[in-house]
Subunit: 430 residues, 2 copies
């Protein structure tokens, strides 16, 4: 309690510091993992591609016309190499992997998946396991679609595989597990091969359990440690559960967010299932945009080189976050945070019970943070402790200013909490 | 029966003619309403738009980043004028109106629509009224989603409104009516204001009945009679049923098929409903493609002028179809066909019971036609009579060659049918 006491003693100082912060009238935003304008500029040549007269795919397809449900082969080939899946098991689709995830789950609800006894919507209950902290939009999809969410802990090697295995072995309503395998949102964890092998081979009570393997940050390295993704589709096949994995990826944070291309990879049976229904709702994806991307990247090394240019822009921002949090908070011991090797987020654990207060204090000082609880299903962080920071979008000086302000808010909230549980001199007298 | 007898007598001649046709080894395709390469060339400047450095919308939005669920205002304004709906009630979305239709119906199944007592999937039965002949992909959506289809006749003024009104008044399971209001697929009919008023004002047993108003050919005129579309959204509002109409359109047959922009218009309550769910599955449409289109068109007159250039390419093909069918078939009286003022199709009614035979004969002669029955739910044309011709894609000389072949097949099938019901000399002797 010496720390609490020391903190409580700093309360007045911290209040003054916070008032100074507010007086600066900042307008800063660390809410979402959006690429910055400087990053988007890296892909500016896309805006003039494919160029007049350039509309023919390598197989002779006129990309300007209908057709080609699977997407353009030359682009699929590039991402098949990056995702380490056979090109025949990889589809290039629309502008968002989020939409692909939603649509494949809806398809499962309406029709079931290969191995289902019936459509998921006809089951008494459908449950997804949600590693926490996790990605709020995954949880929002489940909430919207009436899918029950059960949390499991994240570890530095990915979801707690033993906890997952114990649950899926017993509960036949569990049909899904969310995984962000590489540089997870928000904690940056990378799924180890050991964890991946356990997840694809564990027995499940449900015959049609799926892992929703959202490889959103597969090539989004922040250091020269370019951690390779575990090949979950192949591992599942090796384990005798070929249909277990639905893999998603996109170029949203490679080229343009919202004007990129999303990818879906899975077993041949899953791909056939997806395309059979897709053929009713689509006459093919935007192949011109896929051609545009294929011309821009040329090959997988083109993507890798492009991502190193992103890293040059992003790495200093992440360094600034770590540096400022260390300088401002490590002595007080009121928070712990991740130092991710990739991805878009820093996950901060503050003094339990103060995350909401920190976000509110920051908001009142003009610094927008993702709402507390966002990294948990139903926005309920049981310990009110986790805050997700997204430093990609603002310029570096704004990241610095914002983080300094956030540190002040974390300290003030911690001091307030300490004061509330530390007998004050006044209380002693009373 | 004199016609039958005369036709039967021509059987041998027609067989020889058909053998000559087959001997030509044609490979022609009139199956789908796809734009031709020449039409696609009209939009070639899109391939270099918006151009480097051009990524900012008129409201300052960076189109390269996430956001903007409703779509780009400058593009919505152009199509709001063309579709005659308030821009606030018009959304610019992804690359296909077919997908929008599918997704809005799925949303109705999962959640219900404004006015629903419960999700449509919880109803005992959901029925859609399907004017016939109609669009095969509409019917395929219903079939896929387990929606019962009940046919109503088409008239030159659109769906038979009295037949529709009688059914919806009685049957509470009827939740939808498909309408292609302008230059219908396949018969080219245009919904009159009288029919539209009846459809939007008729009492319905279901509280949440919707008209799926697929205005796919709203600006796709083939003559200088540029038939304006009835404004169904406004009429429904005037009639006190503001939420009755879901309107769809797209640029698929204006710019690039599959790389265009789709639109959804409806009442404010419907738009709110759609967007509330959309916000869970999407972080916004491809705004760069929308900016590209807005820059290319500039304004509604730009679209109108562009469509006149399409007309210059398409009109001669449709004239050729009419001319060849008239020359080859009118004397024999074995078929009737539409002479549409717009759209992409010619609908031919052949001798009842012979449509499948005509399509098979054409196929064997290297001329691909849409399968017989395609214009009816479940591919079942009760009279086996209707054939949809799509002359847009092949060059004019191929359209001519294909139509001459199709005429031969129609005559031969009619002669075969006539011979089967006309006592032959051999049959007399037996």
């Amino acid at each position: 309690m010496s720390t609490d006491f020391a903190l409580a003693a700093r309360l007045d100082d911290l209040r003054r510091e916070y008032d100074d912060l507010k007086a600066r009238g900042l307008t800063l935003d660390l809410t979402r993992g959006k690429p910055s304008a400087e990053q988007l500029d890296l892909s500016e040549p896309l805006l003039a591609l494919p160029g007049e007269g350039q509309h023919t795919a390598e197989d002779g397809t006129d990309t300007r016309n209908y057709g080609g449900l699977s997407g353009l082969l030359e682009l699929r080939r590039i991402f098949a190499e990056l995702l380490d899946v056979p090109v025949g098991q990889l589809l290039a689709q629309g502008n968002a992997s989020l939409t692909l995830m939603y649509d494949t789950i809806v398809q499962a609800l309406l029709f079931g998946v290969p191995g289902s006894d019936r459509p998921w919507s006809r089951e008494e209950q459908v449950t997804f396991l949600c590693p926490v902290p996790g990605y709020d939009r995954h949880f929002a999809i489940c909430e919207e679609l009436g899918i029950r969410m059960v949390t499991v802990p994240m570890t530095p090697d990915g979801p707690d595989a033993e906890a997952v295995a114990a649950l899926v072995a017993e509960d036949a309503s569990i049909r899904g597990l969310w995984v962000v395998p590489t540089y997870a949102n928000p904690d940056g964890a990378v799924v180890s091969e050991t964890v991946a092998r356990r997840l694809v081979s564990m027995p499940t009570a449900a015959p049609d359990f799926r892992i929703f393997w959202d490889n959103a940050y597969v090539v989004h390295h922040l250091t020269d440690v370019e951690t390779p993704s575990v090949n979950a589709v192949a591992l599942a096949s090796d384990a005798g559960n070929p249909d277990r994995v639905f893999l998603y990826a996109s170029t949203s944070k490679i080229t343009f967010a919202g004007a990129g291309v999303a990818f879906f990879a899975a077993s041949p049976a899953n791909i056939d299932w997806y395309q059979a229904h897709l053929g009713i709702r689509s006459i093919g994806p935007d192949k011109v945009n896929q051609l545009r991307h294929a011309m821009f990247f040329r090959n997988a090394d083109g993507v890798r080189a492009h991502m190193r240019r992103h890293r040059e822009i992003l790495a200093p921002k992440f360094s600034a976050v770590g540096e400022i949090l260390t300088r401002r908070l490590s002595e007080a011991g009121v928070a712990s945070w991740t130092e991710p090797l990739g991805g878009y987020f820093v996950s901060v654990d503050v003094v339990p019970g103060t995350a909401s207060r920190v976000v509110q204090l920051a908001k009142d000082a003009g610094i927008a943070l993702t709402p507390a609880g966002s990294t948990f299903p139903y926005h309920r962080d049981p310990q009110d402790r986790n805050i997700r920071l997204a430093p990609s979008m603002p310029p570096l000086d704004e990241v610095r200013a914002a983080m300094d302000g956030v540190a002040t808010c974390i300290l003030l909230a911690a001091a307030e909490a300490a004061a509330a549980i530390t007998p004050s001199p006044a209380a002693d007298e009373a």
